[in-house]
């Protein structure tokens, strides 16, 4: 009976993640089908008739598992916050871009405002010389983030499998803004160049900013 209950709780937990679209907060979309399939198989296993016999002993681990499924079903999940990326410097964040290059990036875009944060970060990682982008219009969304020295960036997490491997990528901003970290923003501006410790990099000269609600798919997945 305990087995059946645990399986039902597991199925309910997975079902809730799928229905509420919180699955996109946890794993990369290319693995969604695995979860759908598991949900199906576990539901079937939970509903199959069981031969009547006794299994000895209460198992603490089993109760912990049940509790985890119940808890996971009851909470309302939010996207990974900026706190998980604390202690990183802008340099490291810029370096992270190699990990999440947009392979389908079209170099030739008439309207540079159409480029996403990931597109821009990909281009900077291939060609970091800021003069190449000077004065190009940029319009991107992301969350407000301060690096380990308090320099402002607009950033997103890039995920390739599950959240455990999330990396932060972002573009530096020319000025600090009056928002708390982790606030989702849409930033409009132009590309400017900046220098720090002898390194030149591109940053956004902010012209327009507004808050937006956290998107349903807040991570970059490629």
């Amino acid at each position: 009976m305990k087995i059946r209950i645990t399986l039902i709780l597991c199925a309910v937990f997975l079902g809730k993640l799928i229905m509420s679209q919180e699955l996109s907060l946890l794993i990369h979309p290319r693995y969604f089908w695995l979860v759908y399939l598991s949900f199906g198989v576990i539901t079937i296993l939970a509903l199959l008739p069981e031969k009547k016999h006794h299994h000895s002993g209460t198992n603490l681990l089993n109760y912990i598992l049940m509790a985890a499924f119940v808890f996971g079903t009851m909470i309302s999940l939010q996207a990974l916050s900026s706190k998980a990326a604390a202690l990183q410097s802008t340099d490291q964040i810029i370096n992270n871009a190699q990990y999440s290059r947009n392979k389908r990036l079209a170099n030739f875009t008439i309207n540079t405002e159409d480029r996403s944060l990931q597109d821009w970060v990909t281009m900077f990682s291939i060609n970091p010389e800021p003069d190449k982008y000077q004065n190009q219009k940029i319009k991107v969304t992301g969350f407000y983030f301060l690096d380990d020295e308090g320099s402002p960036l607009i950033a997103q997490y890039a995920v390739s499998c599950c959240i455990a491997d999330a990396r932060i990528i972002g573009i530096p901003l020319s000025e600090t803004l009056a928002y708390s970290e982790n606030t989702w923003l849409e930033i409009e501006g132009t590309i400017d160049s900046a220098e720090k410790d002898g390194q030149r990099f591109a940053q956004i000269k902010v012209l327009n900013k507004k808050t937006i609600s956290t998107p349903n798919d807040p991570y970059i997945t490629n």
Binding site: I3, T6, L7, C10, L14, L17, L23, L25, L26, I27, Y31, L34, V35, L37, S38, V41, I42, L45, L48, E50, K51, H53, H55, S56, N59, L61, N62, I64, L65, A68, G72, M74, I75, S76, L77, Q78, A79, L80, S81, K83, A84, A85, A86, L87, Q88, Q92, N95, N96, Q98, Y99, S160, C161, C162, I163, A164, D165, R167, N182
Partner: protein, 301 residues
């Protein structure tokens, strides 16, 4: 519905993501292992494997290509192998090598390091070397002291509890096998995932970045990271990519070889196969060998 503060939410998100990512593979591993339990006879094994002991181990290493379960799924398989009298040698060859020797991981390693056949080659070569060496070592040790699962037909010195379990298994259908295996493995996996998520949310991965001043420190640091970071072997190449700027290739190799073999999330599950002594010996031996091979790579390339 409860909403959580940012920090707790981060911990929960990391925990649940590891859990949800692992569940499909544990399920698959449990299904495959139940099939092995029900339908695989020793004669099948004897006919299938080559006669030469070394070739047998190599075959087991390559078996991952046929049974592409990630690190989570191969543990139920390994349990069944032990109970089917494969012996610890062959089982360990499979256990350590299968997470890397499969098409998904080979493809993702190449995708993360395009054109870099050297990294792929060394990843596979080191993995096989370590898997085979570890299996030779472990099968020489007194088996009762290192593994908990004894073969089904071993009638000597089984205690009553094991006998009961054996009898119960004979009565159970395949679905009951799958259910019990899946839930047992998942509950152990959860323990590992909780510890991994706690470490990752309290200690950002970036802390590791300061440990790269000397080659041996870098190798150890990347191995420690591999142990703590609980990501699947089919994407760890992408994860490692981000460190290639700062850490030497030898340490990246160590990460790519050690990570799929052992990490926090798999330890509780491995503990259901091995005794503490056996598991410690296995991890220490494999870890030392990987360190040694990575350092050799540094010295000679």
């Amino acid at each position: 519905m409860l909403t959580l503060s940012n920090q707790i939410n981060d911990f929960v998100i990391i925990l649940l993501s590891i859990l949800v990512e692992g569940i499909p593979f544990i399920l698959l591993g449990s299904i495959l292992s139940a099939i092995v339990q029900k339908y695989l006879k020793e004669s099948h094994i004897i006919n299938f494997l080559p006669k030469n002991r070394l070739m047998q181990k190599i075959t087991m290493c390559l078996l991952g290509n046929l049974i592409p379960v990630c690190e989570c799924g191969n543990i139920p398989m390994a349990k069944r192998m032990l109970s089917k009298n494969f012996g610890s040698g062959l089982t360990i060859s499979f256990l350590l090598a299968a997470p890397v020797f499969n098409p998904l991981v080979i493809a993702s390693t190449l995708a993360a390091f395009p054109g870099n056949y050297s990294i792929l080659f060394y990843r596979l070569a080191f993995t096989m070397l370590v898997a085979i060496s570890a299996s030779y070592l472990m099968e020489k040790l007194p088996q009762k002291e290192i593994i908990k699962i004894l073969p089904e037909n071993n009638n000597q010195s089984e205690d009553i509890a094991k006998k009961d379990e054996r009898m119960k298994q004979h009565q159970h259908g395949i679905t009951t096998l799958i259910k019990t295996e899946f839930l047992q493995m998942t509950s152990l996996f959860l323990v590992g995932a909780i510890i991994a998520a706690m470490i990752q949310s309290l200690l950002p991965k970036e802390v590791i970045l300061s440990f790269n001043n000397q080659e041996w420190i870098a190798i150890l640091a990347m191995m420690a990271l591999a142990f703590v970071i609980s990501i699947c072997s089919n994407v760890d190449a992408f994860f490692a990519l981000a460190y290639t700027q700062i850490f030497p290739t030898s340490s990246i190799l160590a990460f790519l070889v050690f990570g799929p073999m052992f990490d926090i999330k798999s330890v509780p599950m491995l503990k259901s196969i091995f005794t503490w002594r056996g598991l410690t010996i296995l991890i220490l031996f494999s870890g030392s060998l990987i360190f040694f091979l990575s350092y050799l790579y540094f010295l000679f390339t």
